[in-house]
Symmetry: C2
Subunit: 245 residues, 2 copies
DNA sequence: CGCTGTGTTGAAGGATGTCAATTACCGTGG
DNA sequence: CCACGGTAATTGACATCCTTCAACACAGCG
């Protein structure tokens, strides 16, 4: 009771990358079974994060990366004057904490948007192992690079797209990631509020809501609060590509 | 004459990280002399890029990272429909090409904004060496992580700041980086057009121009085309922090 | 069953974009 | 050295998209 300030739930059992159904999406990609066993020794702990709780906060010392095992997160950065910006949404198989490597401090908050579980990846041990296992090294570099590419895509979105295009791109991106995790390509439940979507897309929540309604009126979507059914994926794709201009 | 399609200028002489005046800003940070000698064997070639020429283009095979030795670059991504977005400006000591690691293809264009020189860093050799030299590994990871953090900062800017705040933040960032390279904190010459600034900041060139004029009227800057003199750095900083709201 | 957080919708205003005219600058060639 | 042409930058007037403010609806939960 009197130990850690935030009451962590650690689960030191049954954790093994070698046996994880996310291994085709996560850090283990491209590794042999032998190599995976080495990774298992490193990734030995999970942590449960309740909906609304933070996995880490900006300013905290950086120790580990986290792989989302189940659930859904957002990351957000804050400027000095209190504005904040959602920089991403993370789902199963995606890594959290890469921002902390550079300064040994986290530079954003990671908040669970539903009850979630993450695997803890002690970073310095990961660096050690990736000096031995070049396939691990390669995959880790790929993941970081892809994060940079993703960020560039968000910049493109924020810098040059209009509200409809932004929301369409956002939805297509979400469904694509869900689909590669075995979920439906056409039905999804949003785990975030309109405000969080708006923050990510550089829009106000009212604009997000209006745009959802517009998409519904135009037959692209069926929207019931956070339940979304995509009726015309191609239409959304055309929107993103600016075919309406 | 009939060799390479883009006429590359390679300069295989006199290249040595161990002896480079940028080593406190670049990949060698934190490495011992012994380690630097190993890095020298890897980074043995430079390339000259004329103003307006591209160092690499989106879609090209990724082989190497590039460290800016002299000059100035922009990177831009393009969407399918031709819109494009400047994702960054790079100056001496900064790395180009990190986006290409994930897919083995470059995902953006890198264009020299003035006559420039880069050091070529063959990436797979860098991976090999960074498995031997943990200080190199660590610095490389730091650099990638900081790029992610930088991108998050740009998202914050694009997603939640108004035109004046964006331009002020941009100018402060530029001068800070120039200052850490030994240049004046108050005088700078912009190497990019208003349109390129606008693309980076998610604004139209006219808005950039108007905002420069406004800053001049309000006594923050002296603007003569691309020559900028900063008269009130604190005022700009206050703008960024939203003190005027 | 009412409270609270979330989402929707309308009307009005404001910041930025668009279009167009003018000016400044720079390299080139007379 | 100066004239010229083309690119870049500035500025104004107007249009548009998004935000702001406000009222209301809905859902989940004590």
């Amino acid at each position: 009771m009197s130990t850690a300030t935030p009451p962590l739930r650690l689960e030191p059992f049954k954790v093994a990358c070698s046996n994880c159904n996310l291994r085709e999406l996560c850090l283990p990609v491209g590794m042999s079974n032998d190599q995976l066993l080495k990774l298992d020794t490193l990734v030995s702990t999970r942590r449960t994060v309740q909906r609304g709780d933070t996995l880490f906060r900006s300013g905290e010392a950086f120790q580990s990366l986290y792989a989302v095992r189940t659930g859904f997160f957002k990351t957000c950065v804050a400027s000095e004057d209190g504005r904040d910006q959602v920089t991403g949404f993370q789902m199963a198989g995606e890594l959290l904490g890469l921002d902390g490597i550079g300064t040994e401090r986290h530079t954003c908050d990671a908040v669970a948007l539903e009850d979630s579980q993450v695997c803890i990846i002690p970073f310095h041990q990961l660096e050690d192992l990736s000096r031995e296992v070049s396939d691990l090294q390669r995959q880790f570099h790929r993941i970081m690079s892809r994060e940079i590419v993703r960020d560039h895509g968000v910049m493109l979105l924020l810098g040059s797209m209009r509200a409809e295009e932004r929301l369409a791109a956002f939805l297509l991106n979400l469904t694509q990631r869900l689909q590669s995790r075995g979920f439906s390509a056409s039905e999804l439940i949003l785990r975030m509020t309109r405000e969080e979507i708006g923050s990510y897309l550089g829009l106000k929540l009212e604009t997000v809501s209006r745009t959802f309604s517009k998409f519904q009126d135009e037959g692209f979507l069926e929207v019931k609060q956070r339940q979304i059914r995509i009726l015309d994926q191609d239409g959304l794709q055309r929107l993103v590509n600016g075919a309406n201009c």
